[in-house]
Protein backbone atom coordinates (compact mmCIF):
# COMPACT_ATOMS: atom_id res chain seq x y z
CA UNK A 1 0.00 0.00 0.00
CA UNK A 2 1.38 3.36 -0.96
CA UNK A 3 2.14 5.92 1.69
CA UNK A 4 -0.62 8.18 0.44
CA UNK A 5 -3.22 5.41 0.41
CA UNK A 6 -2.27 4.55 3.96
CA UNK A 7 -2.44 8.18 5.05
CA UNK A 8 -5.83 8.45 3.43
CA UNK A 9 -7.27 5.23 4.84
CA UNK A 10 -6.23 6.17 8.35
CA UNK A 11 -8.28 9.34 8.05
CA UNK A 12 -11.27 7.98 6.09
CA UNK A 13 -11.46 4.34 7.12
CA UNK A 14 -14.95 3.83 5.71
CA UNK A 15 -14.20 4.57 2.09
CA UNK A 16 -11.98 1.59 1.32
CA UNK A 17 -14.55 -0.71 2.86
CA UNK A 18 -17.34 0.83 0.79
CA UNK A 19 -15.28 0.37 -2.37
CA UNK A 20 -14.61 -3.28 -1.54
CA UNK A 21 -18.20 -4.00 -0.58
CA UNK A 22 -19.64 -2.64 -3.80
CA UNK A 23 -16.88 -3.31 -6.32
CA UNK A 24 -14.12 -5.84 -5.71
CA UNK A 25 -16.02 -7.94 -3.20
CA UNK A 26 -19.51 -7.65 -4.60
CA UNK A 27 -20.16 -11.08 -6.11
CA UNK A 28 -22.58 -11.06 -9.01
CA UNK A 29 -23.90 -14.18 -10.73
CA UNK A 30 -21.63 -15.23 -13.55
CA UNK A 31 -24.45 -15.82 -16.03
CA UNK A 32 -25.60 -12.23 -16.72
CA UNK A 33 -26.84 -11.77 -20.29
CA UNK A 34 -27.53 -8.76 -22.52
CA UNK A 35 -30.54 -7.73 -20.45
CA UNK A 36 -28.21 -6.97 -17.56
CA UNK A 37 -26.46 -4.15 -19.38
CA UNK A 38 -29.23 -1.65 -18.89
CA UNK A 39 -28.67 -0.83 -15.22
CA UNK A 40 -25.15 0.42 -15.83
CA UNK A 41 -26.27 2.10 -19.06
CA UNK A 42 -28.98 3.93 -17.10
CA UNK A 43 -26.27 5.28 -14.79
CA UNK A 44 -24.24 6.36 -17.79
CA UNK A 45 -27.19 8.24 -19.25
CA UNK A 46 -27.91 9.84 -15.89
CA UNK A 47 -24.36 11.18 -15.78
CA UNK A 48 -24.71 12.37 -19.38
CA UNK A 49 -27.95 14.21 -18.54
CA UNK A 50 -26.40 15.91 -15.54
CA UNK A 51 -23.23 17.02 -17.32
CA UNK A 52 -24.88 18.20 -20.55
CA UNK A 53 -27.70 19.72 -18.47
CA UNK A 54 -25.28 21.82 -16.45
CA UNK A 55 -23.81 23.21 -19.65
CA UNK A 56 -27.24 23.91 -21.15
CA UNK A 57 -28.23 25.77 -18.00
CA UNK A 58 -25.27 28.12 -18.55
CA UNK A 59 -26.90 29.47 -21.72
CA UNK A 60 -30.62 28.93 -21.20
CA UNK A 61 -32.99 31.71 -20.04
CA UNK A 62 -35.91 30.51 -17.91
CA UNK A 63 -38.47 33.16 -18.89
CA UNK A 64 -41.49 32.91 -21.16
CA UNK A 65 -40.10 35.78 -23.24
CA UNK A 66 -36.55 34.49 -23.49
CA UNK A 67 -36.63 30.69 -23.27
CA UNK A 68 -37.40 29.84 -26.88
CA UNK A 69 -34.81 32.28 -28.23
CA UNK A 70 -32.16 31.10 -25.81
CA UNK A 71 -32.59 27.55 -27.11
CA UNK A 72 -32.16 28.80 -30.68
CA UNK A 73 -29.10 30.71 -29.45
CA UNK A 74 -27.65 27.49 -28.03
CA UNK A 75 -28.32 25.71 -31.31
CA UNK A 76 -26.86 28.37 -33.59
CA UNK A 77 -24.44 30.65 -31.76
CA UNK A 78 -22.97 28.86 -28.78
CA UNK A 79 -19.84 26.92 -29.73
CA UNK A 80 -20.80 23.26 -29.89
CA UNK A 81 -24.15 24.22 -28.38
CA UNK A 82 -25.99 21.99 -30.86
CA UNK A 83 -23.92 19.02 -29.75
CA UNK A 84 -24.55 19.61 -26.07
CA UNK A 85 -28.28 20.01 -26.69
CA UNK A 86 -28.59 16.98 -28.95
CA UNK A 87 -26.68 14.89 -26.41
CA UNK A 88 -29.20 16.01 -23.81
CA UNK A 89 -32.34 15.44 -25.94
CA UNK A 90 -31.10 12.11 -27.31
CA UNK A 91 -30.07 11.15 -23.80
CA UNK A 92 -33.62 11.75 -22.57
CA UNK A 93 -35.13 9.34 -25.09
CA UNK A 94 -32.34 6.79 -24.64
CA UNK A 95 -32.95 6.99 -20.89
CA UNK A 96 -36.47 5.71 -21.38
CA UNK A 97 -35.48 3.02 -23.88
CA UNK A 98 -32.89 1.79 -21.39
CA UNK A 99 -35.27 2.01 -18.44
CA UNK A 100 -38.13 0.23 -20.20
CA UNK A 101 -35.77 -2.62 -21.12
CA UNK A 102 -34.37 -2.63 -17.58
CA UNK A 103 -37.89 -2.93 -16.16
CA UNK A 104 -38.83 -5.58 -18.71
CA UNK A 105 -35.78 -7.58 -17.62
CA UNK A 106 -37.17 -7.42 -14.09
CA UNK A 107 -40.48 -8.89 -15.30
CA UNK A 108 -38.70 -11.57 -17.35
CA UNK A 109 -36.49 -12.91 -14.61
CA UNK A 110 -38.70 -12.20 -11.59
CA UNK A 111 -36.17 -9.75 -10.17
CA UNK A 112 -38.99 -7.98 -8.32
CA UNK A 113 -39.71 -11.05 -6.19
CA UNK A 114 -38.60 -11.79 -2.67
CA UNK A 115 -36.03 -10.70 -1.49
CA UNK A 116 -35.79 -7.87 -4.07
CA UNK A 117 -39.19 -6.16 -3.61
CA UNK A 118 -37.54 -3.03 -2.27
CA UNK A 119 -35.16 -2.85 -5.24
CA UNK A 120 -38.22 -2.90 -7.48
CA UNK A 121 -40.15 -0.34 -5.40
CA UNK A 122 -37.24 2.10 -5.34
CA UNK A 123 -36.91 1.47 -9.08
CA UNK A 124 -40.55 2.42 -9.59
CA UNK A 125 -40.02 5.60 -7.55
CA UNK A 126 -37.09 6.37 -9.83
CA UNK A 127 -39.39 5.81 -12.80
CA UNK A 128 -41.96 8.27 -11.40
CA UNK A 129 -39.35 10.94 -10.69
CA UNK A 130 -37.84 10.33 -14.11
CA UNK A 131 -41.22 10.94 -15.75
CA UNK A 132 -41.62 14.20 -13.83
CA UNK A 133 -38.07 15.20 -14.73
CA UNK A 134 -38.62 14.46 -18.44
CA UNK A 135 -41.95 16.28 -18.49
CA UNK A 136 -40.53 19.43 -16.92
CA UNK A 137 -37.50 19.36 -19.17
CA UNK A 138 -39.80 19.16 -22.16
CA UNK A 139 -41.58 22.34 -21.04
CA UNK A 140 -38.37 24.40 -20.79
CA UNK A 141 -37.80 25.23 -24.52
CA UNK A 142 -41.25 26.88 -24.43
CA UNK A 143 -42.20 25.73 -27.89
CA UNK A 144 -45.87 25.40 -28.70
CA UNK A 145 -45.88 21.71 -27.85
CA UNK A 146 -44.12 22.49 -24.56
CA UNK A 147 -46.80 24.96 -23.65
CA UNK A 148 -49.79 22.81 -24.56
CA UNK A 149 -48.24 19.69 -23.15
CA UNK A 150 -47.70 21.53 -19.87
CA UNK A 151 -51.23 22.79 -19.88
CA UNK A 152 -52.79 19.39 -20.57
CA UNK A 153 -50.65 17.49 -18.09
CA UNK A 154 -51.07 20.02 -15.28
CA UNK A 155 -54.81 20.12 -15.90
CA UNK A 156 -54.89 16.36 -15.23
CA UNK A 157 -54.75 17.31 -11.57
CA UNK A 158 -58.13 19.06 -11.82
CA UNK A 159 -59.63 15.55 -11.70
CA UNK A 160 -58.70 15.43 -8.00
CA UNK A 161 -61.95 15.82 -6.07
CA UNK A 162 -62.69 18.97 -4.03
CA UNK A 163 -59.52 20.98 -4.49
CA UNK A 164 -58.52 19.91 -8.00
CA UNK A 165 -58.76 23.36 -9.53
CA UNK A 166 -56.86 25.00 -6.68
CA UNK A 167 -54.20 22.36 -7.13
CA UNK A 168 -53.89 23.22 -10.83
CA UNK A 169 -53.49 26.93 -10.09
CA UNK A 170 -51.01 26.08 -7.35
CA UNK A 171 -48.84 24.08 -9.74
CA UNK A 172 -49.00 26.70 -12.49
CA UNK A 173 -48.71 29.73 -10.23
CA UNK A 174 -50.93 31.59 -12.72
CA UNK A 175 -54.16 30.87 -14.54
CA UNK A 176 -52.48 29.72 -17.77
CA UNK A 177 -48.89 28.41 -17.85
CA UNK A 178 -46.49 31.36 -17.87
CA UNK A 179 -43.36 32.72 -16.24
CA UNK A 180 -44.07 31.38 -12.75
CA UNK A 181 -44.64 27.89 -14.20
CA UNK A 182 -41.50 27.99 -16.29
CA UNK A 183 -39.35 29.29 -13.41
CA UNK A 184 -40.42 26.63 -10.95
CA UNK A 185 -40.10 23.86 -13.54
CA UNK A 186 -36.59 25.05 -14.25
CA UNK A 187 -35.67 24.95 -10.57
CA UNK A 188 -37.14 21.48 -10.18
CA UNK A 189 -35.63 20.17 -13.39
CA UNK A 190 -32.08 21.35 -12.78
CA UNK A 191 -31.78 21.17 -9.00
CA UNK A 192 -34.45 19.35 -7.04
CA UNK A 193 -35.31 16.31 -9.13
CA UNK A 194 -31.72 15.43 -10.15
CA UNK A 195 -30.79 15.41 -6.46
CA UNK A 196 -33.74 13.14 -5.69
CA UNK A 197 -32.80 10.88 -8.62
CA UNK A 198 -29.21 10.54 -7.46
CA UNK A 199 -30.30 9.73 -3.94
CA UNK A 200 -32.79 7.14 -5.19
CA UNK A 201 -30.16 5.49 -7.41
CA UNK A 202 -27.85 5.17 -4.40
CA UNK A 203 -30.68 3.59 -2.42
CA UNK A 204 -31.58 1.35 -5.39
CA UNK A 205 -28.06 -0.05 -5.56
CA UNK A 206 -27.72 -0.18 -1.79
CA UNK A 207 -30.88 -2.27 -1.59
CA UNK A 208 -29.69 -4.49 -4.45
CA UNK A 209 -26.25 -5.12 -3.00
CA UNK A 210 -27.74 -6.02 0.35
CA UNK A 211 -29.66 -8.96 -1.12
CA UNK A 212 -27.49 -9.60 -4.18
CA UNK A 213 -28.34 -9.64 -7.88
CA UNK A 214 -30.81 -11.98 -9.45
CA UNK A 215 -29.87 -13.58 -12.80
CA UNK A 216 -31.42 -15.06 -15.96
CA UNK A 217 -31.94 -18.41 -14.22
CA UNK A 218 -33.61 -16.84 -11.21
CA UNK A 219 -31.65 -18.98 -8.76
CA UNK A 220 -30.13 -17.57 -5.57
CA UNK A 221 -26.34 -17.88 -5.88
CA UNK A 222 -25.95 -17.31 -2.14
CA UNK A 223 -27.24 -20.83 -1.51
CA UNK A 224 -23.94 -22.39 -2.59
CA UNK A 225 -20.82 -20.82 -1.17
CA UNK A 226 -17.21 -21.90 -0.99
CA UNK A 227 -15.47 -22.21 2.40
CA UNK A 228 -14.52 -18.52 2.24
CA UNK A 229 -18.18 -17.59 2.03
CA UNK A 230 -18.01 -16.54 -1.63
CA UNK A 231 -20.88 -17.75 -3.83
CA UNK A 232 -19.67 -20.51 -6.16
CA UNK A 233 -21.54 -18.99 -9.08
CA UNK A 234 -20.46 -15.44 -8.29
CA UNK A 235 -17.70 -13.34 -9.79
CA UNK A 236 -16.34 -10.06 -8.46
CA UNK A 237 -18.14 -7.07 -9.92
CA UNK A 238 -14.77 -5.40 -10.42
CA UNK A 239 -12.91 -6.21 -12.63
CA UNK A 240 -15.19 -8.77 -14.33
CA UNK A 241 -18.44 -6.88 -14.75
CA UNK A 242 -16.91 -3.43 -15.00
CA UNK A 243 -15.10 -4.68 -18.08
CA UNK A 244 -18.13 -6.48 -19.47
CA UNK A 245 -20.28 -3.38 -18.94
CA UNK A 246 -17.65 -1.37 -20.78
CA UNK A 247 -18.40 -3.40 -23.91
CA UNK A 248 -22.08 -2.53 -23.52
CA UNK A 249 -21.14 1.12 -23.07
CA UNK A 250 -19.15 1.00 -26.33
CA UNK A 251 -22.03 -0.42 -28.37
CA UNK A 252 -24.50 1.94 -26.71
CA UNK A 253 -22.39 5.03 -27.39
CA UNK A 254 -22.03 4.07 -31.05
CA UNK A 255 -25.82 3.93 -31.37
CA UNK A 256 -26.16 7.27 -29.57
CA UNK A 257 -23.53 8.88 -31.78
CA UNK A 258 -25.32 7.74 -34.93
CA UNK A 259 -28.52 9.34 -33.66
CA UNK A 260 -26.87 12.55 -32.49
CA UNK A 261 -24.92 13.12 -35.69
CA UNK A 262 -27.26 11.78 -38.35
CA UNK A 263 -30.86 11.93 -37.15
CA UNK A 264 -31.18 13.85 -33.88
CA UNK A 265 -34.95 14.25 -34.18
CA UNK A 266 -35.53 10.60 -35.20
CA UNK A 267 -38.37 11.51 -37.51
CA UNK A 268 -40.11 13.70 -34.95
CA UNK A 269 -39.99 11.11 -32.19
CA UNK A 270 -37.05 12.38 -30.13
CA UNK A 271 -37.58 16.06 -31.01
CA UNK A 272 -40.96 17.16 -32.24
CA UNK A 273 -41.72 19.44 -35.11
CA UNK A 274 -44.37 21.47 -33.32
CA UNK A 275 -41.87 22.38 -30.67
CA UNK A 276 -39.81 24.40 -33.14
CA UNK A 277 -42.64 26.94 -33.10
CA UNK A 278 -42.71 29.37 -30.15
CA UNK A 279 -45.42 28.88 -27.51
CA UNK A 280 -48.73 30.47 -28.43
CA UNK A 281 -51.37 30.45 -25.73
CA UNK A 282 -54.20 31.02 -28.21
CA UNK A 283 -53.45 28.31 -30.77
CA UNK A 284 -53.29 24.60 -30.02
CA UNK A 285 -51.05 22.52 -32.32
CA UNK A 286 -53.11 20.55 -34.84
CA UNK A 287 -52.42 17.25 -33.13
CA UNK A 288 -51.28 17.15 -29.57
CA UNK A 289 -49.22 14.14 -28.78
CA UNK A 290 -46.68 13.60 -26.05
CA UNK A 291 -43.09 12.51 -26.61
CA UNK A 292 -42.98 8.84 -27.52
CA UNK A 293 -42.04 7.55 -24.08
CA UNK A 294 -45.25 8.86 -22.53
CA UNK A 295 -47.49 7.83 -25.41
CA UNK A 296 -48.69 4.44 -24.03
CA UNK A 297 -49.91 6.12 -20.85
CA UNK A 298 -51.38 9.00 -22.82
CA UNK A 299 -53.32 6.53 -24.98
CA UNK A 300 -54.86 5.02 -21.84
CA UNK A 301 -56.00 8.51 -20.83
CA UNK A 302 -57.39 9.27 -24.27
CA UNK A 303 -59.25 6.02 -24.82
CA UNK A 304 -61.48 6.45 -21.78
CA UNK A 305 -64.49 8.66 -22.50
CA UNK A 306 -64.61 10.25 -19.07
CA UNK A 307 -62.16 12.69 -17.56
CA UNK A 308 -62.32 11.36 -14.00
CA UNK A 309 -62.04 7.72 -15.06
CA UNK A 310 -59.38 8.50 -17.64
CA UNK A 311 -57.10 10.11 -15.09
CA UNK A 312 -57.85 7.30 -12.66
CA UNK A 313 -56.91 4.66 -15.27
CA UNK A 314 -53.72 6.55 -16.06
CA UNK A 315 -52.75 6.55 -12.39
CA UNK A 316 -53.78 2.91 -12.01
CA UNK A 317 -51.65 1.85 -14.97
CA UNK A 318 -48.57 2.98 -13.06
CA UNK A 319 -49.71 1.95 -9.58
CA UNK A 320 -50.28 -1.57 -10.93
CA UNK A 321 -46.57 -1.81 -11.72
CA UNK A 322 -45.71 -0.92 -8.13
CA UNK A 323 -47.85 -3.83 -6.96
CA UNK A 324 -46.33 -6.51 -9.19
CA UNK A 325 -44.22 -8.09 -6.40
CA UNK A 326 -47.43 -8.78 -4.47
CA UNK A 327 -49.66 -9.66 -7.41
CA UNK A 328 -47.30 -12.37 -8.59
CA UNK A 329 -47.49 -15.22 -6.06
CA UNK A 330 -45.56 -17.71 -8.20
CA UNK A 331 -42.56 -19.41 -6.60
CA UNK A 332 -40.44 -19.58 -9.77
CA UNK A 333 -38.65 -16.40 -10.78
CA UNK A 334 -37.20 -16.76 -14.25
CA UNK A 335 -39.30 -16.92 -17.39
CA UNK A 336 -37.08 -19.84 -18.42
CA UNK A 337 -38.83 -22.10 -15.91
CA UNK A 338 -42.23 -20.46 -15.61
CA UNK A 339 -45.53 -21.73 -17.01
CA UNK A 340 -46.52 -21.14 -20.61
CA UNK A 341 -49.30 -18.81 -19.41
CA UNK A 342 -46.79 -16.35 -18.01
CA UNK A 343 -44.71 -16.36 -21.18
CA UNK A 344 -47.74 -15.64 -23.34
CA UNK A 345 -49.14 -13.03 -20.95
CA UNK A 346 -45.83 -11.16 -20.76
CA UNK A 347 -45.46 -11.21 -24.54
CA UNK A 348 -49.01 -9.87 -24.99
CA UNK A 349 -48.35 -7.24 -22.34
CA UNK A 350 -45.26 -6.01 -24.19
CA UNK A 351 -47.11 -5.91 -27.53
CA UNK A 352 -50.08 -4.10 -25.95
CA UNK A 353 -47.74 -1.54 -24.40
CA UNK A 354 -46.13 -0.98 -27.80
CA UNK A 355 -49.46 -0.65 -29.63
CA UNK A 356 -50.84 1.72 -27.01
CA UNK A 357 -47.72 3.76 -27.69
CA UNK A 358 -48.61 3.82 -31.39
CA UNK A 359 -52.09 5.12 -30.59
CA UNK A 360 -50.69 7.76 -28.24
CA UNK A 361 -48.21 8.81 -30.92
CA UNK A 362 -51.12 9.25 -33.35
CA UNK A 363 -49.91 6.61 -35.80
CA UNK A 364 -53.22 4.70 -35.87
CA UNK A 365 -55.35 7.04 -38.07
CA UNK A 366 -52.95 6.34 -40.96
CA UNK A 367 -53.15 2.59 -40.40
CA UNK A 368 -56.94 2.67 -40.22
CA UNK A 369 -57.21 4.56 -43.50
CA UNK A 370 -54.88 2.13 -45.23
CA UNK A 371 -56.81 -0.89 -43.93
CA UNK A 372 -60.41 0.30 -44.10
CA UNK A 373 -60.21 2.91 -46.85
CA UNK A 374 -60.47 6.71 -46.77
CA UNK A 375 -64.10 6.79 -45.64
CA UNK A 376 -63.47 4.79 -42.49
CA UNK A 377 -64.85 6.15 -39.24
CA UNK A 378 -61.42 6.66 -37.66
CA UNK A 379 -62.59 7.66 -34.19
CA UNK A 380 -64.88 4.67 -33.71
CA UNK A 381 -62.35 2.13 -34.98
CA UNK A 382 -59.51 3.68 -33.01
CA UNK A 383 -61.58 3.78 -29.84
CA UNK A 384 -62.60 0.15 -30.22
CA UNK A 385 -59.02 -0.97 -30.86
CA UNK A 386 -57.61 1.23 -28.09
CA UNK A 387 -60.16 0.19 -25.49
CA UNK A 388 -59.41 -3.46 -26.13
CA UNK A 389 -55.74 -2.67 -25.57
CA UNK A 390 -56.49 -0.82 -22.33
CA UNK A 391 -58.45 -3.81 -21.09
CA UNK A 392 -55.62 -6.16 -22.06
CA UNK A 393 -53.10 -3.92 -20.26
CA UNK A 394 -54.96 -4.25 -16.98
CA UNK A 395 -55.86 -7.87 -17.69
CA UNK A 396 -52.17 -8.73 -17.43
CA UNK A 397 -52.12 -7.80 -13.76
CA UNK A 398 -55.38 -9.56 -12.98
CA UNK A 399 -54.20 -12.64 -14.84
CA UNK A 400 -50.87 -12.59 -13.01
CA UNK A 401 -52.61 -12.75 -9.66
CA UNK A 402 -55.27 -15.31 -10.58
CA UNK A 403 -52.72 -17.49 -12.37
CA UNK A 404 -50.32 -17.64 -9.46
CA UNK A 405 -52.68 -17.30 -6.49
CA UNK A 406 -54.90 -20.23 -7.44
CA UNK A 407 -51.97 -22.36 -8.52
CA UNK A 408 -52.81 -22.60 -12.22
CA UNK A 409 -49.18 -22.16 -13.18
CA UNK A 410 -47.33 -25.30 -14.33
CA UNK A 411 -43.66 -24.54 -13.80
CA UNK A 412 -40.61 -26.47 -14.92
CA UNK A 413 -37.94 -27.64 -12.46
CA UNK A 414 -35.49 -24.89 -11.51
CA UNK A 415 -31.78 -25.91 -11.53
CA UNK A 416 -29.79 -25.74 -8.29
CA UNK A 417 -26.97 -23.74 -9.85
CA UNK A 418 -26.84 -21.26 -12.72
CA UNK A 419 -26.73 -22.89 -16.16
CA UNK A 420 -23.81 -21.06 -17.69
CA UNK A 421 -21.45 -23.12 -19.81
CA UNK A 422 -18.28 -21.18 -19.10
Amino acid sequence: MGAFTQWFNERAPGLGAVYKKHMTEYYAPKNFNVMYYFGSLAMLVLVNQIVTGIFLAMFYTPTAAGAFDSVQYIMRDVNWGWLVRYMHTTGASMFFIVIYLHMFRGLMYGSFKKPRELVWLIGMLIFLVLMAEAFMGYVLPWGNMSFWGAKVIITLFSAVPWFGHTLVTWIMGTFVPGDPTLNRFFALHVVALPLVLLLLVVLHLGALHEVGSNNPDGVEIKKHKNPKGIPLDGIAFHPYYTLKDLVGVGVFLIICAVIIFFAPSVGGFFLEHDNSIPANDLVTPATIKPVWYFSPFYAILRMIPSKGLGVLALAASIVALFLVPWLDRGGVKSIRYRGLGYKIALAIFAIVFFLLGCIGADLTPGWIVSIFGPNADITTIENLFGRILVILYFAFFVFLWVYTFFGFERTRPVPERVTTHA
Partner: protein
Protein backbone atom coordinates in the same frame (compact mmCIF):
# COMPACT_ATOMS: atom_id res chain seq x y z
CA UNK B 1 -24.99 9.94 44.08
CA UNK B 2 -25.08 7.97 40.84
CA UNK B 3 -28.34 6.33 39.87
CA UNK B 4 -27.85 4.17 36.77
CA UNK B 5 -31.44 3.04 36.41
CA UNK B 6 -33.20 4.29 33.30
CA UNK B 7 -36.62 5.87 33.52
CA UNK B 8 -38.05 4.41 30.31
CA UNK B 9 -41.43 6.09 30.58
CA UNK B 10 -39.87 9.49 30.92
CA UNK B 11 -37.47 8.82 28.05
CA UNK B 12 -40.35 7.78 25.80
CA UNK B 13 -42.36 10.84 26.80
CA UNK B 14 -39.45 13.15 26.03
CA UNK B 15 -38.76 11.47 22.68
CA UNK B 16 -42.40 11.59 21.65
CA UNK B 17 -42.99 15.17 22.74
CA UNK B 18 -39.79 16.35 21.02
CA UNK B 19 -40.86 14.59 17.83
CA UNK B 20 -44.35 16.08 17.96
CA UNK B 21 -43.16 19.64 18.63
CA UNK B 22 -40.42 19.31 16.01
CA UNK B 23 -42.87 17.88 13.47
CA UNK B 24 -45.35 20.67 14.11
CA UNK B 25 -42.55 23.19 13.63
CA UNK B 26 -41.57 21.58 10.35
CA UNK B 27 -45.13 21.67 9.06
CA UNK B 28 -45.57 25.31 10.03
CA UNK B 29 -42.29 26.19 8.34
CA UNK B 30 -43.38 24.32 5.21
CA UNK B 31 -46.54 26.43 4.80
CA UNK B 32 -44.79 29.59 3.51
CA UNK B 33 -42.81 27.50 1.05
CA UNK B 34 -45.90 25.73 -0.24
CA UNK B 35 -47.73 29.04 -0.55
CA UNK B 36 -44.98 30.64 -2.63
CA UNK B 37 -46.43 28.56 -5.45
CA UNK B 38 -49.85 30.27 -5.34
CA UNK B 39 -50.39 33.06 -7.91
CA UNK B 40 -48.38 36.11 -6.87
CA UNK B 41 -49.89 39.57 -6.55
CA UNK B 42 -48.57 40.34 -10.03
CA UNK B 43 -50.18 37.26 -11.54
CA UNK B 44 -53.48 38.10 -9.87
CA UNK B 45 -53.49 41.70 -11.05
CA UNK B 46 -53.37 40.67 -14.72
CA UNK B 47 -56.88 40.52 -16.17
CA UNK B 48 -59.32 43.40 -16.57
CA UNK B 49 -62.39 43.43 -18.88
CA UNK B 50 -62.00 43.95 -22.65
CA UNK B 51 -64.37 45.60 -25.12
CA UNK B 52 -64.50 44.31 -28.68
CA UNK B 53 -66.05 45.64 -31.88
CA UNK B 54 -68.21 42.97 -33.52
CA UNK B 55 -69.50 45.01 -36.48
CA UNK B 56 -67.00 43.45 -38.92
CA UNK B 57 -67.73 39.82 -38.05
CA UNK B 58 -69.61 38.24 -40.94
CA UNK B 59 -72.34 35.62 -40.78
CA UNK B 60 -70.85 32.26 -39.88
CA UNK B 61 -67.46 33.79 -39.06
CA UNK B 62 -65.58 33.33 -35.80
CA UNK B 63 -63.09 35.82 -34.34
CA UNK B 64 -60.70 35.15 -31.45
CA UNK B 65 -59.78 37.61 -28.73
CA UNK B 66 -57.56 37.22 -25.70
CA UNK B 67 -58.88 37.88 -22.20
CA UNK B 68 -56.97 36.94 -19.05
CA UNK B 69 -54.67 35.06 -21.41
CA UNK B 70 -57.59 32.88 -22.40
CA UNK B 71 -58.93 32.64 -25.94
CA UNK B 72 -62.38 34.18 -26.34
CA UNK B 73 -64.38 33.04 -29.36
CA UNK B 74 -67.06 35.35 -30.77
CA UNK B 75 -69.21 33.79 -33.50
CA UNK B 76 -71.91 35.37 -35.60
CA UNK B 77 -74.15 32.32 -36.04
CA UNK B 78 -76.26 31.88 -39.18
CA UNK B 79 -79.98 30.94 -39.01
CA UNK B 80 -79.09 27.45 -40.31
CA UNK B 81 -76.55 26.97 -37.56
CA UNK B 82 -79.13 28.03 -34.98
CA UNK B 83 -81.71 25.75 -36.51
CA UNK B 84 -79.48 22.69 -35.98
CA UNK B 85 -79.13 23.36 -32.23
CA UNK B 86 -82.32 21.79 -30.82
CA UNK B 87 -81.90 18.78 -33.16
CA UNK B 88 -78.58 17.92 -31.51
CA UNK B 89 -80.11 17.60 -28.02
CA UNK B 90 -80.33 13.76 -27.96
CA UNK B 91 -76.62 13.44 -28.78
CA UNK B 92 -75.43 15.81 -26.06
CA UNK B 93 -74.32 15.27 -22.51
CA UNK B 94 -75.92 18.39 -21.01
CA UNK B 95 -78.31 19.74 -23.69
CA UNK B 96 -80.15 22.06 -21.30
CA UNK B 97 -77.00 23.56 -19.81
CA UNK B 98 -77.82 22.42 -16.31
CA UNK B 99 -74.17 22.54 -15.25
CA UNK B 100 -73.13 26.08 -14.23
CA UNK B 101 -70.84 26.56 -17.23
CA UNK B 102 -72.51 29.86 -18.20
CA UNK B 103 -73.93 32.91 -16.44
CA UNK B 104 -77.62 32.50 -15.63
CA UNK B 105 -78.60 34.95 -18.39
CA UNK B 106 -77.10 32.54 -20.95
CA UNK B 107 -78.80 29.38 -19.69
CA UNK B 108 -81.03 28.95 -22.72
CA UNK B 109 -81.20 26.92 -25.92
CA UNK B 110 -78.52 28.97 -27.65
CA UNK B 111 -76.34 29.73 -24.60
CA UNK B 112 -76.08 33.44 -25.36
CA UNK B 113 -77.72 36.82 -24.82
CA UNK B 114 -78.68 37.37 -28.46
CA UNK B 115 -79.30 34.08 -30.33
CA UNK B 116 -76.91 34.81 -33.21
CA UNK B 117 -74.00 36.02 -31.05
CA UNK B 118 -72.12 33.19 -29.37
CA UNK B 119 -69.42 34.28 -26.91
CA UNK B 120 -67.34 31.64 -25.19
CA UNK B 121 -64.01 30.82 -23.62
CA UNK B 122 -62.47 28.57 -26.26
CA UNK B 123 -60.96 26.08 -23.88
CA UNK B 124 -61.81 22.41 -23.98
CA UNK B 125 -63.25 21.26 -20.67
CA UNK B 126 -61.25 18.07 -20.89
CA UNK B 127 -57.69 19.21 -20.38
CA UNK B 128 -57.65 22.77 -21.60
CA UNK B 129 -56.73 22.70 -25.28
CA UNK B 130 -58.24 25.19 -27.72
CA UNK B 131 -60.77 23.42 -29.96
CA UNK B 132 -61.00 24.20 -33.66
CA UNK B 133 -64.08 25.85 -35.13
CA UNK B 134 -65.36 23.44 -37.79
CA UNK B 135 -68.38 25.09 -39.35
CA UNK B 136 -68.67 22.91 -42.46
CA UNK B 137 -71.66 20.56 -42.24
CA UNK B 138 -71.09 17.04 -43.56
CA UNK B 139 -69.18 13.87 -42.78
CA UNK B 140 -65.87 14.38 -40.93
CA UNK B 141 -63.31 11.72 -39.97
CA UNK B 142 -64.26 12.29 -36.34
CA UNK B 143 -68.04 12.33 -36.91
CA UNK B 144 -69.86 11.00 -39.97
CA UNK B 145 -72.91 13.13 -39.15
CA UNK B 146 -71.23 16.47 -38.35
CA UNK B 147 -73.53 19.48 -38.07
CA UNK B 148 -70.85 22.08 -37.39
CA UNK B 149 -69.32 23.05 -34.08
CA UNK B 150 -66.00 22.69 -32.28
CA UNK B 151 -63.55 19.85 -32.45
CA UNK B 152 -60.67 19.46 -30.01
CA UNK B 153 -57.52 18.03 -31.63
CA UNK B 154 -56.04 16.93 -28.33
CA UNK B 155 -58.28 13.99 -27.46
CA UNK B 156 -61.01 14.36 -30.05
CA UNK B 157 -63.77 15.96 -27.97
CA UNK B 158 -66.63 17.48 -29.95
CA UNK B 159 -69.02 20.35 -29.20
CA UNK B 160 -72.02 21.67 -31.12
CA UNK B 161 -72.57 25.25 -32.33
CA UNK B 162 -73.55 26.35 -28.82
CA UNK B 163 -70.34 24.78 -27.43
CA UNK B 164 -72.36 22.00 -25.80
CA UNK B 165 -70.35 18.81 -25.44
CA UNK B 166 -71.33 15.63 -27.28
CA UNK B 167 -71.83 12.39 -25.42
CA UNK B 168 -69.10 9.75 -25.60
CA UNK B 169 -66.08 12.08 -25.72
CA UNK B 170 -63.50 12.72 -22.99
CA UNK B 171 -64.61 16.28 -22.18
CA UNK B 172 -67.12 16.25 -19.31
CA UNK B 173 -68.75 19.68 -19.62
CA UNK B 174 -69.98 22.30 -22.06
CA UNK B 175 -67.43 25.02 -22.75
CA UNK B 176 -67.60 28.05 -20.50
CA UNK B 177 -69.48 31.20 -21.47
CA UNK B 178 -67.78 34.18 -19.78
CA UNK B 179 -69.70 37.07 -18.25
CA UNK B 180 -70.31 39.70 -20.97
CA UNK B 181 -72.80 42.31 -22.07
CA UNK B 182 -73.63 44.44 -25.08
CA UNK B 183 -72.35 47.99 -24.67
CA UNK B 184 -74.29 48.89 -27.83
CA UNK B 185 -75.31 46.99 -30.97
CA UNK B 186 -71.76 46.64 -32.24
CA UNK B 187 -69.69 46.35 -29.04
CA UNK B 188 -69.41 43.60 -26.46
CA UNK B 189 -67.63 43.98 -23.15
CA UNK B 190 -66.17 40.71 -21.89
CA UNK B 191 -65.64 40.26 -18.18
CA UNK B 192 -68.62 42.28 -16.94
CA UNK B 193 -72.22 41.08 -16.48
CA UNK B 194 -75.13 43.05 -17.99
CA UNK B 195 -76.59 45.67 -15.65
CA UNK B 196 -79.04 44.10 -13.24
CA UNK B 197 -77.85 40.52 -13.90
CA UNK B 198 -75.78 38.73 -11.32
Amino acid sequence: MADDSINKGRRRFLTASTAVIGGAGLIITAIPFVETWLPSARAQAAGSPITVDISKIEKGQMVRYGWRKQPIFVINRTPEQLQWLPKQDPRLRDPHSNEPQQPSYCKNGHRSIKPEWMVLIGICTHLGCVPDYKKKVGPEPFDPDWKGGFYCPCHHSRYDMAARVYDGVPAPLNMVVPPYHFVDDTHIQIGVDPKGAA
